[in-house]
Symmetry: C2
């Protein structure tokens, strides 16, 4: 229906090759006059290049796919934004996929992304879901935020979760607290187990016994934070909570408030991530900051380099930093 290069060629009395070259600015040996004629016609007829035809020929779609658990989660929405911004700057579009940490959905999305011939994939994976599924088409991929074992070569961008959580817990300990709970997600990924390890190691290093009654693991949600303090409170008291992420911290603070327990006077709570709203909740949340937006950018930089065939550092580990606010 809409106008094509071929029609422009007819109208301009040249071959379609010439039109293609001119429109793509690859026409060193075409007269200015012909060029102008072609440009004028293209403009007048409202020519819009058909990128799918082009992609078929040049074998590049200038599109990448991102698979994340859930854009509604503030951590991932910031990640998505970082990715999209960086991708757009480099001329790529991004296809968004929400996996809900569901392996089947991940697999399905990887399949359709491959079918759609994306140039690369950024994946926040749940465990080792994809090991087997991306062998066929050798598509560049970078793992973001969560590591998995895989036999294919992938780029990796992570944060030093263990150290981050270690510092968080240590921070609480240095405030003179020893009864510290840990509320987080089940071990669905290396990062979750790393955070748990950081917590445990900090306790050990300071001669504090680890009490399983103080550990509540479910998911990275506000509800988990809420239920977590309620459940732990049934078993015993505590003076601080290390939360697996800020969402959990928000839920925890809410539950504490409901139980008339004051934060930070009676219980100090520290989060992880430093999502946008963390500084606006009450009290403003002390937390371990991840450079979320930047991680997104790094991921596309790495991915684009892989797409372009450059060999490079295939693993970047970013540092966290502790943001002191009012919840401790």
């Amino acid at each position: 229906m809409s106008i094509t290069i071929k029609k422009i060629a007819e109208l301009a009395n040249v071959s379609s090759a010439t039109v293609s070259k001119v429109l793509n600015d690859k026409a060193p040996y075409i007269s200015e006059e012909t060029k102008k004629r072609i440009f004028d016609i293209a403009k007048k007829e409202g020519y819009i290049p058909n990128a799918v035809a082009k992609s078929l020929k040049v074998k590049s779609t200038k599109t990448i796919g991102i698979i994340i658990p859930d854009v509604m989660n503030l951590f991932f929405s910031e990640l998505a934004r970082g990715i999209e911004d960086a991708a757009e700057k480099r001329g790529y579009s991004v296809i968004l996929c929400n996996s809900d940490n569901n392996k089947e959905k991940e697999k399905k999305y990887i399949q359709v992304l491959q079918e759609k011939m994306v140039d690369g994939i950024i994946l926040t994976a749940s465990e080792k879901s994809v090991e087997r599924s991306l062998n066929m088409r050798k598509i560049p991929m970078v793992l973001l935020d969560r590591d998995i074992n895989t036999d294919v070569r992938v780029g990796k961008i992570f944060v030093d979760n263990e150290t981050g959580e270690y510092e968080a817990c240590k921070y609480l300990i240095e405030k003179g607290i020893r009864d510290i709970a840990f509320i987080s997600s089940n071990v669905i990924s290396k990062s979750s187990s790393q955070r748990l390890n950081g917590y445990k190691r900090a306790l050990s290093d300071h001669g504090i016994m680890i009490d399983e009654d103080l550990i509540y693991l479910d998911s990275y949600t506000i509800e988990t934070g809420f239920n977590g303090v309620l459940e732990i409170l049934k078993k015993r008291n505590f003076k601080g909570i290390c939360c697996g992420n800020d969402l959990i911290a928000i839920g925890a603070i809410n539950a504490l408030k409901q139980k008339q327990i004051r934060v930070p006077e009676n219980v100090k709570v520290i989060g992880f991530d430093d999502i946008q709203i963390s500084k606006y909740i009450n009290p403003p949340l002390t937390t371990v900051k991840q450079p979320i937006y930047q991680m997104g950018k790094e991921a596309v930089d790495m991915l684009v380099n892989m797409i372009n065939g450059y060999d490079m550092d295939y693993e970047i580990i970013l540092r966290t930093s502790l943001i002191e606010r009012m919840s401790c």
Copy 2:
């Protein structure tokens, strides 16, 4: 590099037409034996269909584009999630674009989406930015959340913003309050002006003078809420705030807290949207709920219907509902 239908055809000693038909389950007159042979080879060789080749032929990419101001904004991330879920169920992928309410970016994104031959576009537009840009390729489009004047035929999904804000303001008035501030975004869209109108009409209907000193307009951000109360407070006191959205309400509550003004005892505040965290802030936010996730779903339903050529209701206006929590 990766295997194609043609190669499968060779390996199976049939024509590529046959392979295509078999793989697409459009082969009524092919023997089971041949079918099995083809399927086996496809599986063994790890065949992945090339969707871009297919798209070129069938003129459909099974992809839609969504243009929103910012996924990091909780309202839009929920919208995006609603859209992606619904799209996935109907077999579409979604390309995510963040416009930052910037007309140039909107135009550019519309251009690339058209080039990439998306089957349709869902747009949350800033004013009448796109009027001129989507005439060429007649691509189905639905306007979501924000109305604009346009000469092309588009679908529309909105919320009754004016009534929503009217009810919110009325709710405050009926609690015996008359000094009500209004903090919101500049009039970047019909919805923003509609909310402003709702506020003003509620005041008028109850015989309350409109005081411009009580109105602060900037953007739909936490910062605006924060700055808004600080600025208004310099001029005069108030007992309630109608906020253009929940983010603003969060900022406003923070500023009030900083000024030692208690919510809801001294000032009642009501939001708009009912984003996820609103029930978890302190105090839990009373707000005008938009069916955000559902709006996303409705938008893709409408869009897909337009793609399929069905003529249907091209405008849906959803109702808001007032969610009473603790901030009033």
